[in-house]
């Protein structure tokens, strides 16, 4: 019974790992910075799940569950910091550059 579920864990883990690829695509393409941040958030959640899966595959879940818990608790600090950063800075329309040169900046903050 144990081996059978271990196989389930490995297959599920493979699929989950391959499903990291779409967020990665969003990270590579991502037109704006915040698209990338969203993708990072998704990968973070998926990592917490993956750690549980790896624990089942090792048959030592009681050891791995601890840092899945750490991920669940700490994962949103990064996105929160990025959100705070975007809050406190000039609106850039998602890019690091002002939208259309100096004029746009002047109209936004006269």
């Amino acid at each position: 019974m144990g081996e059978y579920f271990e196989l389930v864990a490995i297959v599920a883990g493979m699929v989950l790992l391959l499903l990291i690829a779409p967020p990665l695509y969003r990270i590579v393409i991502g037109p704006t910075a915040i698209d990338r941040i969203v993708a990072v958030n998704i990968v973070g959640t998926k990592t917490a799940v993956m750690l549980v899966v790896i624990g089942v595959a090792f048959e030592r879940v009681d050891m791995f569950v601890d840092f899945a818990l750490a991920y669940a608790l700490l994962n949103f600090i990064g996105s929160l910091a990025a959100a705070r950063y975007l809050h406190k800075t000039k609106p850039m329309g998602g890019t690091a550059e002002p939208l259309d040169g100096e004029d746009a900046k002047a109209s936004m903050n006269p």
């Binding site: 601890d66 840092f67 910091a81």
Partner: protein
């Protein structure tokens, strides 16, 4: 510069790759690093087989970290403390009237709403005690499951960082002021060094915890090692917590500790 960088990188890479073939196969249980050379076993084999008899600690990594290689870890902790102090020295602007330096990008243009306080504030209010408890759990259970002083300290520091992000830096500093965190950092190092010096005071080597069963109640020589490791981990956790928050508070306010990110 670009071409020079590429050439240097390629040269180093080829040099390193030429050595890769000489390594043992990946995952080989009998490679020299894992099994020793010839009939002489490697030290890691000794750690795996004898740690539990020596110290009654199931987590081998914690035992090696805090006991067998305790001297190393003590000065790693000192390095972390020194990093905190040097950030203090580099960034902190002390004395004199606070000059309002304009941040290059910092213009708070947001629509003043209540969502920050209501949603993020409430979540963080509910999460922070749990995170702190979890951090202490990680420190206390480093013997039986992965974890220990470094991890617990980082998580505990992160909880204060979360408080600073959810409210503002002032709230977090109100709980964990500059004086407190610098003191806590020193206290952590002193706890670690104190365990070592206590052993020396009892006429044994530095950080040789076995002798401490004379002054610890209800322990034998083996359990003394286990409990001293816990004490040492607590010291590490204090230092790491203090320094993580010190780094954050100085970086996010550019050394002025007025208002952060």
């Amino acid at each position: 510069m670009k071409w020079f960088g590429l050439i240097a990188t390629a040269f180093t890479g080829i040099l390193l790759l030429s050595a890769v073939g000489d390594f043992a196969r990946f995952g080989d249980p009998h490679s020299p690093a894992n099994a020793g050379v010839g009939d002489r076993p490697s030290v890691s084999q000794y750690y795996i087989t004898d740690t539990y008899a020596d110290t009654k600690v199931p987590n081998i990594v914690t035992a090696v970290l805090a006991d067998y290689r305790g001297y190393d870890t003590m000065f790693e902790t000192v390095v972390i403390f020194a990093a905190g102090i040097s950030i203090f020295a580099i960034l902190r602007s002390l004395g004199g009237p606070v000059v309002p330096v304009s941040h290059p990008q910092a213009i708070d243009t947001s629509v003043d709403g209540d969502h920050q306080r209501i949603i993020i504030g409430t979540t963080c209010r509910l999460m922070i005690p749990v995170i702190q408890l979890f951090a202490l759990y990680v420190v206390a259970h480093g013997h039986h499951s992965p974890g220990g002083g470094f991890q617990g300290g980082v998580i505990l520091g992160a909880s204060f960082i979360l408080l600073a992000l959810a409210k503002d830096l002032g709230t977090a500093l109100g709980r964990f002021s500059e004086k407190r965190y610098l003191t806590l950092g020193c206290v952590g190092i002193m706890i670690y060094a104190g365990f070592g010096l206590l052993c020396q005071a009892l006429e044994r080597n530095l950080l040789d915890y076995e002798i401490l069963h004379r002054i610890m109640p209800a322990t034998d020589a083996v359990m003394a090692r286990s409990h001293s490791m816990l004490g040492v981990e607590v010291g590490v956790a204090f230092t790491v917590t203090a320094i993580m928050f010190a780094i954050y508070s100085n970086l996010s306010s550019n050394g002025r500790l007025d208002h952060g990110l």
